[in-house]
Amino acid sequence: MSTHTIRLTVNGHEHVAEVPARLTLADFLRERLDLTATHLGCEHGVCGACTILLDGETARSCITLAAQADGSEIVTLEGIAGDGEDLHPVQQAFWDRHGMQCGFCTPGIILSTIELLDEHPQPTREQIDEALGGHLCRCTGYVKIVEAVQEAAQAMSDVRVVGRSPTPTRTRP
């Protein structure tokens, strides 16, 4: 089995690593970089728990090889809160709206929400469903998740309106 030298940026940090061909990007992130917010559920691209941002777009890290990610820029859940922030506004909205129960699916859903709100700052219900349709949550029934996405959209647009940097408008209770 061949090994490959990969160079990639993860959450703003550059990494150079030697990886076997069959190592998935998810395993690379979790086991080599200890970034364990990227969860592994089905490991064949169906459940969405392993979703990351790869060159600015959501992607399944369980069905992407680390070798394929050579040269790319990756953001995981660990990388979304800005300096000095406890939580990203989307995380804060999920906290406030209780948009999770066990939390296993949450990292992927948050990253897909960030991408959704980037493209559609005021998403319709249909756009939310389309963005989150690739994420299986077996606890919530999605009601609180959708509410959290809507709240995040509102919070982030409020921040934009008053012209501040996108920092959370509420603090953790």
């Binding site: 998935t24 691209g45 090889l65 690739g134």
Partner: protein, 283 residues
Amino acid sequence: MKPAPFDYAAPTSVQDALGLLAGNDGAKILAGGQSLIPLLNLRLAAPDLLIDLRRIPGLDGITRAGNELTIGATVRQRRAERDPAVREAAPLLTAALAEVGHPQIRSRGTIGGSIAHADPAAELPAVLVALDGRVIARGPGGERAIAAADFYRGFLTTALADDEILLAIVLPVAPPRTGAACVEVAQRAGDYAACGAVAQVTLDDAGGVSDARVALIGATDRPFRAYAVEEAIVGGESIAAAAGHAADGVEPIDDPRVPIAYRSHLAGVVTRRALEQARSRAT
């Protein structure tokens, strides 16, 4: 690690990729990997070598020349889905792309990969067949074009030879007054469809249907071109009546979740809905 061990290569030219492929029965081409890597993780496939096309320049173009749209093998589905030039030239492709997996899959999945993988429940092969497109492939003996009607041979099987690589697909540009739609019935949104249909309708100056194209997704072991429906519509039958011919000549896949009778029924339903939507968009 989930997959069985394999070697990986990312050659920088088609020539080098063909060299790696030649004489290696255990080699597989890797484009976006959104169908192949799940198969590796499940160990349903265990190739010796993956040949990744990502570093080969010139395979990621979308070009319109005359009445044809050419899409390179490594063009990612989401990019094509968002491309206004694709929407204008091939609205059926745009409509079908919105039904491929989920956005998180389409960001990595490629047009060429889906066409070559030949999953009977995949959307893009049905588009290729409905539009009478063609596949451009290169092997050791040179390049050739394969008509869509000759390309699909059965479950996960195409006319590509073991030593050939799909370089691009070519679709005819849609005429004016054309509308297109893709409709599926699946257990969950984004799942492989129990049955689906792609439909494209072109109107003449008087508002009559001058051309109709319909292909079924997931009905049988390959995309099924519903010529009987097309002829009925152009012959003046109503959409509802024409859709009644959808399952004519189909030998539906039988599986415990979707028995033959249900799948045959769905064929008519998705055909009617797709034609109605396509007709309403042809203005």
